[in-house]
Amino acid sequence: MNLIELLAEPLGYTFMVRALLVTIIAAALCAVLSCWLVLIGWSLMGDAVSHAVLPGVVLAYIAGAPFALGALVFGFLAVALIGGVRDTTKLKEDAAIGIVFTTLFSIGLVLISVTPSHVDLNHIIFGNLLGVSASDLWQVVLLGAITFAILVLKRKDFTLYAFDQTHAHALGMSPRLIGAVLLGLLAMTSVVALQAVGVILVVAMLIIPGATAYLLTDRFGKMLVIAPVLATCAGILGVYVSYYLDASTGGMVVLAQAMIFAIAYLFSPKQGLIATRLARKGRRKALAASR
């Protein structure tokens, strides 16, 4: 089998085409958002919100409402509860996050177990790339497009929020509002991505691409390009490998992203482990020679 046949064969199946489309959209969207999350220090918050949307999605399913609506409500509920626990106790934020999101996630698990359903709601947890229906795909496209458009159009405000909230305040903007919008977009993105890799692994797609891009450049504008390009390539690679190995698709997508992170971590020209070690060695040699 030559390379073209290798790439073309899966595309003969509608479910594979849909899986690839959802993966590309989810990977690119998560990657763009992850650039801000990594810089603001919201990786744990991304973890929390992406898990906490689970009961919202299940309740939306029961009520026949859009998943995004339930996700938004529970995303904000999680953030409010985390802030509340943090501010009214002596607990630090990581403890508050740990308590709140696991509680909400558990509510989701319990709701799934008691909800009679003709679709397997466990797919929300582990993702079900190969079972994406046409209407699922449309929801992903629509939500993804809206979220992506807001992120790109207001990117300068989000970047200023990440870099210097006091300056944003001094210009009469509301850092609180910008932060709330970003959290809302995080909840929407979680809905898009849980179709691809499931609630548990969404956080990987929300952290790894931004972190990878951050190791490769010191310009935010470039991060916003590098992150989605790498994440999308990794996503496509993951889907193909999972097809031929008959392995978990969501798991493979995340593993492919992690592999690219590892490569950047080792080989990034400026900040990679090898480059910094070599530079240190070079400095030592120069120092020794000058003595």
């Binding site: 405000d157 870099f163 006091t166």
Partner: protein, 251 residues
């Protein structure tokens, strides 16, 4: 600029009291600063300098008292870009992937549309500001790749590009080399000569008489406000610090 604005005080804080829980941070503090003046804010750690800054910025609403900026409501003043802020070094993420030019450009955001797209006049303002702080050759460096003094100058350039009439600087001379300190001092004097008002919190008492037109001694309330040479006399500093930090003895 209308007549009302041109006669109003730049900063007018009256009787501001701020609590953090049970801790009293500001106790009926009042501070009036006129146009074209440079004012040094002096006090111990915990004397309420940062709280006073935050009150002026509108980040903290005082329990009692009021704040007026250029004779108007602080939010209105902020929205029209009249207030600019230079953060303490510790408050900045120096590894953030942003260039010096991009930092200065954020000073222009208030004048841009909702997508913050830079126009010709924005680029011109940024270039001019970078020239004035002598950082034109460093414009494309990542912000962390500057020396301590250059970093400060980058943020001063942001204030200049913003065209703010009031500048607040929190410890601008901490970890700054002499040359940058001189450049910043000269710039702030120019800003004041153009009618701008500058409020600086500083530990560098020796540099104050040359830099500032007036000095304020803060210990939760304003103990003294006047000529720097008078405010910095040993017996006055003793009120705020409990000792003579300039070690000039009885002079």
């Amino acid at each position: 600029m209308n007549a009302k604005q041109s006669t109003a005080l730049a900063i007018d804080v009256t009787g501001a009291t701020v609590h953090y829980g049970p801790v009293l941070a500001l106790d009926h503090a009042s501070l009036q600063l006129g146009r074209g003046r440079v004012c040094g804010l002096v006090g111990m750690n915990g004397s309420g300098k940062s709280t006073l800054f935050k009150t002026i910025m509108g980040q903290i609403k005082p329990d009692t008292g009021s704040v007026r900026i250029n004779g108007t409501d602080p939010l209105q003043a902020r929205k029209s870009g009249q207030l600019a802020y230079v953060p303490q070094s510790e408050a900045v993420d120096w590894s953030f992937p942003i260039s010096v030019r991009e930092v200065v450009m954020t000073g222009r955001y208030g004048q841009m549309g909702w997508t913050r797209r830079a126009k010709k006049k924005d680029h011109a303002a940024v270039d001019e500001a970078l020239e004035r702080v002598e950082l034109a050759n460093f414009a494309d460096r990542q912000i962390g790749q500057l020396s301590g003094g250059q970093k400060k100058r980058a943020f001063v350039a942001r204030c200049i590009a913003q065209g703010a009439s009031i500048m607040l600087l929190d410890e601008p001379f901490a970890g700054v080399d002499k040359r940058s300190e001189a450049t910043i001092t000269k710039l702030l004097r120019e800003v004041a000569d153009d009618g701008g008002s500058v409020l600086i919190s500083t530990h560098d008492l020796h540099a104050l008489p040359e830099l500032a037109d007036e000095a304020v001694l803060l210990m939760r309330k304003v103990l003294m406000h006047g000529d720097p040479d008078v405010v910095l006399q040993a017996e006055n500093l003793a009120l705020a610090f409990g000792l003579d930090p300039m070690k000039r003895g009885g002079k």
